[in-house]
Symmetry: C2
Subunit: 311 residues, 2 copies
DNA sequence: CTGTTAGCGCCTTCAA
DNA sequence: TTGAAGGCGCTAACAG
């Protein structure tokens, strides 16, 4: 319809190709009339570039990850890339997913809060597909990882709560096998230790809202409930606050209860010093810090300042 | 290496193709040794099936949508499809995104909380790509839509709050142009009207957490604050509760304050009848109902029961 | 059951 | 600046 060859059509749709303005216009006019659009998928066959990135995750329950997903997606989209979603089965074995990913010719893989074994890394690496592990760390070299300093974060949280005068600071832990949990726990215990304290109770919330609710009930319902709580991520902190506030009628931070009555009292009625009360205080460091960093990153590059203090 | 033709290799990787067991094994052995994997993208060229679905959305800030994204993604993945993410620019003009989508040869489009004009629908339809609009409605025919009965939901919410005895029931509205906002508002006002009431105040939260916080401050800070609040979605309800509880020291539901003092009091100190108090009550219907339905849907089909009552 | 052949829609030489 | 030819890796149709 435009009276030109296939090659010229192809060139007309390539911004950098050399086509005369008149020809390009003719091609575009004809394309509009015919409803023609270049086929991205076929193009990728010859250019060997799918302009596609795989994202692998177990769950988007934690809003932190859908936040990252959106940011990453917009970032890639701005340069003509798109994210292809892969969800790992809860079982934990995602070799089949990796196979799927390799076959799909993606040009990169984002592991969102998923650890890979060295063998799995090698699998993908053999195809020249770069992998970035987000918010998990592995103990072998040769793979890109992005995350926060979880040990420091946990350390600060522990010291912070202890420095406020709390003496029974419990841990609401994440997935036991995850590097984040292990590092935050280690840092936290170290932080307590640095203040000559130990952790009286650890309950596991698996980084899940519902599990964290249960864990909080166990913690607070125990004969010697904690007087402060460190949650290993935002989502569990929200769960804990919800339970503390609305099942145990506590305020976070700062309220005081008489455990014998299990009733909320104003400080004047039952001051902390007058009864074996429980003051609730809850700290969650990692997610908040990472979120701030991401937001800053949206703007422009900035020098590496020292990590911010807790809270 | 396996001593067979290209076709036989191809067939060996097609579960339903007829290949002798021995040949298939030889092919698989050689593939493993060579590190060969079929190229999904090239396959789609000849089969004319990309096994890819586009998801378009403005934002994943509302966890309801990342929830749906995960469910949809797992559903499709189970049958060999994958989701390709497209984020619409905040401006609202996403014709370029639609063009991108068409070129990408997806076999379907999920519009997550995005409305399309009839012209835009036609654009995609001309390529034979089915579109499903999720949680928005359009006023022309020929396009699939999935959502809840927002008018009924709003109606129930309005009546419910009025029947509890509230008399200044404000609305925390969503995106003014969205069908969900308009329908929930219409139903809500109708529900109030059915109880011989009118809405004293409407503030817009744009379905966003931060905007909803601001809107709540305006509502509660006004000279005649509401005694109940209907939020047009979960995310804004969470924002409102956060502000009410922690900036205004109110309990949701059920606390009572003396607006002159703006202090929280226990009912014994300042019973609702003793002063022009504000009893807070907050209802959000839509997201909850939709979420329940989705979860049920995970299990198995069930008969269409009547829509559940509010709360 | 297996091999040969053709072609999916595009891009990239190479010539003109 | 444009056109012709070849090929990306795969599958479908057709023989054998």
């Amino acid at each position: 319809m435009a009276g030109v060859s296939q090659s010229t059509v192809s060139r007309s749709f390539s911004p950098n190709a050399k086509v005369s303005e008149g020809t390009r216009r003719k091609v575009m006019d004809a394309s509009r009339e015919l409803g023609y659009r270049p086929n991205t998928i076929t193009r990728s066959l010859i250019t060997r570039s799918s302009r596609t990135i795989a994202v692998v995750t177990y769950s988007l329950e934690n809003p932190f990850y859908s936040f990252m997903l959106e940011k990453a997606s917009r970032f890639f989209q701005a340069q003509g890339y798109h994210l292809l979603m892969f969800f790992a089965p809860p079982s934990g074995d995602f070799d089949a997913v990796l196979d799927d990913i390799i076959r799909s010719q993606v040009e990169g893989v984002l592991m969102l809060a998923i650890t890979m074994t060295q063998h799995q890394t090698g699998l993908v690496d053999d195809f020249g597909i770069p992998v970035v592990i987000i918010n998990r760390t592995v103990d072998y070299a040769g793979i890109s990882q992005v995350g926060s300093d979880n040990v420091q974060g946990g350390y600060w949280a522990g010291r912070h709560l202890a420095s406020l005068g709390h003496r029974r600071i419990a841990l609401l832990g994440g997935l036991p096998d995850s590097s984040t949990h292990q590092q935050r726990e280690a840092g936290f215990l170290e932080g307590l230790h640095s203040m000559d304290q130990t952790c009286p109770a650890i309950e596991i919330g698996n980084y899940r809202y519902d599990d964290a609710c249960q864990a909080t009930r166990r913690l607070v319902g125990s004969p010697t409930p904690p007087d402060a709580l460190f949650a290993a991520n935002d989502l569990m902190a929200l769960a804990a606050m919800e339970i503390l506030r609305h099942e145990f009628a506590l305020e976070v931070p700062g309220d005081v209860i008489d455990p014998a009555l299990n009733l909320r009292r104003s400080p004047e009625v039952a001051p902390a010093s007058a009864a074996p009360g429980i003051t609730q205080h809850l700290v969650q460091v990692h997610g908040l810090v990472a979120r701030l960093r991401l937001d800053q990153h949206n703007g422009q590059d900035r020098p590496n300042g020292p990590p911010s203090s807790s809270r």
